[in-house]
């Protein structure tokens, strides 16, 4: 279903992107990755495209720089996770919970700024447990179509 063969450089690029985002920073751009890794920008661009094709990262449609590294968002969204360790933009409600698990945050606030048909809401994590369990997360399309447009999803 995802017939893309990743090469070692792709893994290194992915690790660099995730390390930056997990540290509360923006994902490094192509030129920064190239300089840091000592490879040419074209090689980094190719790696990013393979990772995008493999659904390991999501690139911006125009700039072809990292837009999403699920559950992290490289751009501000309506969702944010805050803890003593830092603060992160995330892509959606699901990714808000995913980030807490991924980083093993024991204490955190999950902020949903709200939107059309959706109220502003704050969830809290205490001692590694989600305190508020009432609520529904709605996805705009069936699962087999999520990746048709993952940013819309």
């Amino acid at each position: 279903m995802w017939p893309v063969a990743l090469v070692p450089l792709d893994q290194v690029v992915r690790h660099r992107v995730y390390a930056a985002l997990a540290g509360g920073e923006h994902a490094p751009g192509t030129s920064t990755l190239a300089e840091t890794l000592g490879v040419g920008p074209a090689e980094v661009r190719d790696a990013l495209e393979r990772l995008h094709a493999a659904h390991a990262l999501v690139l911006d449609a125009k700039t072809r720089e990292v837009r999403m590294a699920p559950p992290f968002s490289n751009v501000p969204t309506a969702y944010r996770v805050e803890s003593a360790r830092g603060a992160w933009d995330v892509n959606c409600a699901w990714d808000s919970l995913a980030l807490v698990r991924l980083l093993d945050l024991q204490e955190a606030r999950i902020l949903d700024q709200g939107g059309p048909g959706r109220e502003r809401r704050v969830l809290t994590v205490v001692a590694g447990n989600l305190v508020q369990r009432d609520g529904v997360i709605s996805l705009p399309r069936p699962a087999w179509r999520w990746w048709d447009d993952i940013i819309f999803t």
Binding site: M1, Q11, L97, L123, R133, V136, A143
Partner: protein, 61 residues
């Protein structure tokens, strides 16, 4: 615009999402990326009670 049935079918509770997130994401940050088989994630969704056509990862035949 989705029908009411479609909207209901593509919703999950916070409880379900919290459960799935633990299984899917816990401890994965340092792993090399390896796309898991589709059926693994499908079983994960099914185990959380997310069944039916809207939750199928493969398009309907």
């Amino acid at each position: 615009m989705a029908s009411v049935r479609e909207a209901l079918a593509t919703s999950m509770t916070l409880e379900q999402c919290w459960t799935i997130s633990e299984i899917w994401y816990a401890g994965r940050l340092d792993l090399d990326y390896e796309r898991p088989p589709v059926d693994y994630f499908q079983r994960l969704l099914r185990g959380a009670g997310l069944v039916g056509e809207a939750w199928s990862l493969l398009p309907p035949s």
